[in-house]
């Protein structure tokens, strides 16, 4: 099987997965208890007004018709209007997406970067006190429940020692000028991103450490040392380079986890992002909004899985070349 066939096949699977997720999404919200119109309809409205509204939103159509309309609009990225705010869901999501991306990209880059660096360090100094300490610390923070730790930080640095804002993405009203605004956003970013890094770095460090130790016990490491290479060259050029394929894959595979992890972090820090939008939508029985948010998350998951497949082929010569030969 050539690399191209392989990729086409992966892409086809991705589309099937997307279709299945969308169908579940559709069914899920219609099976939930509660009446969506109750949120916008005043109890004093006449039944006629209610019926009119249900007709406007297409809630009286046969579910199959609703399903057909639903798929067709999603294909055009038309996510409908939110029941709650009456604004187009796409527009609301697009406002929030940059906030989610900035929070999670920052968390992710530091989390993975620090974690991998610590993992390499721990593997190189196996058995030392520092190694025991950093891996222990990593395990500890990994085991602490996210929400508990974040609430603790919030209380400590937002309330007792007021050095960071306790909620929001920017100050209201935002400061004048470009740079003050950037700084203000960064200021708001410290606690949520920092807590993510502290919670998440451990699993990266442990994964990297174990992969590195495994690599360091291979015969080719003895070869590299026998060649008289420096400790540094052996560690980076030989050991780290050979564990790069699984690590890079892990990077891409964990991207969707970040999007979904957004739900907790964004709720706790009142972050104006997609995760919190989803929570609000679910609580308000806001079908289009929740479906839109889920659609976005589903696409993020599927695209990152696909990228992981693609990138693995690029960093691991054993896969890359097998493709070229076919």
């Amino acid at each position: 099987m050539g690399y191209r066939t392989y990729l086409l096949r992966r892409a086809f699977y991705a589309l099937i997965v997307l279709f299945v997720i969308l169908s579940f999404n559709f069914a899920l919200f219609r099976l939930m208890p509660g009446d969506p119109t109750s949120l916008i309809i005043d109890p004093r409205f006449t039944p006629e007004a209610k019926a009119l509204l249900e007709k406007q939103f297409g809630l009286n159509d046969h579910p199959i018709v609703q399903y057909g309309k639903y798929l067709w609009s999603l294909l055009r990225f038309d996510l409908g209007r939110s029941f709650a705010s009456q604004r187009p869901v796409r527009q609301e999501l697009m406002e929030r997406l940059p906030n989610t991306i900035s929070l999670f990209l920052t968390s992710f880059v530091f989390m993975a970067g620090i974690g991998i660096a610590i993992g390499v360090f721990a593997a190189a100094r196996r058995g030392s006190f520092t190694e025991t300490f950093v891996t222990g610390a990593g395990l500890f923070t990994y085991a602490v429940p996210t929400f508990f730790f974040q609430l603790l930080l919030l209380m400590l640095f937002g309330y007792y020692i007021r050095i960071f804002p306790i909620h929001g993405t920017v100050s209201a009203p935002p400061p004048e000028g470009f740079w003050p605004q950037v700084l203000d956003r960064l200021h708001h970013l410290v606690l949520p991103a920092g807590s993510n890094v502290i919670i998440g770095f451990g699993s990266w460090a442990l994964y990297t450490r174990n992969a590195m130790l495994e690599a360091l016990s291979q015969d080719y490491i003895i070869t590299a040392r026998a060649k008289g290479l420096s400790q540094r060259a052996v560690l980076y050029r030989h050991a780290l380079r050979s564990v790069l394929p699984p690590i890079v894959t892990l990077v891409f595979l964990s991207l969707p986890g970040l999007v979904t992890g957004a739900v907790i972090t964004e709720t706790i820090f009142s972050w104006h992002g997609v995760g919190r939008y989803l929570i609000d939508a679910v609580l308000k029985q806001d079908f289009p909004a929740a479906q839109g948010a889920f659609y976005l998350i589903a696409i993020a998951v599927i695209v990152s899985n696909f990228l992981a497949d693609l990138v693995y082929g690029l960093v691991d010569p054993r896969i890359r070349v097998a493709g070229e030969q076919a």
Partner: protein, 334 residues
């Protein structure tokens, strides 16, 4: 003074169960341009010795005593950094089991050779690449394959790449650790022939470590037989094979079929090698030896030279010197 001399080399691994006496008072020497074969069963300490010679021991491996000298230079007293830069690969290189995992799977084979050259010599990359092409040619691999990865080669070809890599810095001494294990016999013969040709062409000194006596017979001048961390017999290949003086050597030789001789029954040596954490007292071979008596169980024999540099560590040396076939007489039981 011999070109390469090892004296009383002792290296133990420190483990939770105690010290593993992997290399225990080993001595041998090697003249320039000669090949020495070191033979023994798996786990007798021969590979540990190879690693000790290049000072590549894992953290729990300690060199406790002895000396290694090359051209009169003491290699064990050298600071690690000096040893790494001036001795490893530059003067002593190693041929590993290439069929296994000796080459890094994520680097192009050419670059793995270039890397060795650039580490030790002050040449441009172009120069190193050119030399790598020559090296590949020399072992019969097309330089066009410079950019290929290890998984694109067969076991025999990987072994050739490993050989080319070992010769990259024109070393004085090459240690080959099981260079043909895991290859089928035909490829094995080709690889051995390649090593032998290069060795005579480049006047290399070589230490060949293997469990395969026939490989040593084929192209080593001298042979040392190792048992349980010690050298039990040493001498020219001809002497040791035709007139073994140690019961263990005699057993090993008997265990190999001789294609030229008539039909004979292949016999193995009963028992298995001892645990090196707690080796038997006295002669380490005594539990498996048909000649063992109280003295063998109590007193450790010393490697003693007899005629023509043939040395043996056995209290019963006169029995074998007298030409008795001690393994023939033994009823073979499990």
């Amino acid at each position: 003074m011999p070109f390469f001399e090892v004296r009383d080399l002792t290296m133990y691994y420190q483990t939770l169960r105690g010290q593993v006496k992997a290399v225990d008072g080993v001595s041998f020497s090697l003249e320039k341009g000669k090949a020495l074969g070191i033979a023994g069963e798996s786990g007798c300490g021969k590979s540990s010795m190879a690693l000790t010679l290049l000072r590549l021991l894992p953290n729990n491996g300690r060199i406790l005593a002895g000396s290694i000298a090359m051209d009169g230079m003491s290699l064990l007293d050298m600071p690690e950094e000096t040893f790494r830069k001036t001795i490893r690969w530059k003067r002593i290189s190693m041929i590993f089991q290439g069929a296994m995992n000796a080459l890094n799977p994520v680097h192009r084979i050419g670059n793995q050779i270039v890397e060795a050259i650039l580490t030790h010599e002050d040449v441009s990359r172009e120069e190193a690449v050119k030399r790598t092409h020559d090296l590949l040619n020399m072992v019969g691999i097309s330089p066009k394959r410079f950019g290929d990865y290890p998984h694109e080669f067969s076991g025999g070809m990987k072994q050739r790449v490993v050989i080319a890599m070992a010769l990259a810095c024109n070393p004085d001494l090459v240690i080959a650790d099981e260079p043909t294990t895991a290859l089928d016999v035909i490829v094995q013969a080709q690889v051995l022939k390649a090593i032998e040709d290069l060795r005579s062409r480049l006047q290399l000194s070589m230490i060949l470590i293997t469990h395969d006596l026939s490989v040593i017979a084929q192209f080593c001048d001298d042979v040392a037989i190792m048992y349980a961390g010690k050298i039990v017999e040493r001498g020219s290949a001809g002497d040791v094979y035709s007139r073994p003086l140690h019961p263990y050597t005699a057993g090993l030789v008997r265990a190999f079929p001789n294609i030229a001789a008539g039909r004979s029954i292949i016999r193995s040596i009963p028992g298995s090698p001892p645990n090196l954490v707690d080796p038997p007292a006295g002669c380490r071979f005594h539990p498996r030896c048909p000649l063992a008596d109280d003295r063998c169980r109590a007193e450790e024999p010393v490697l003693t030279a007899r005629s023509g540099g043939h040395a043996v560590a056995c209290h019963k040396v006169d029995v074998l010197a007298g030409g008795r076939d001690i393994w023939q007489e033994q009823p073979q039981s499990a």
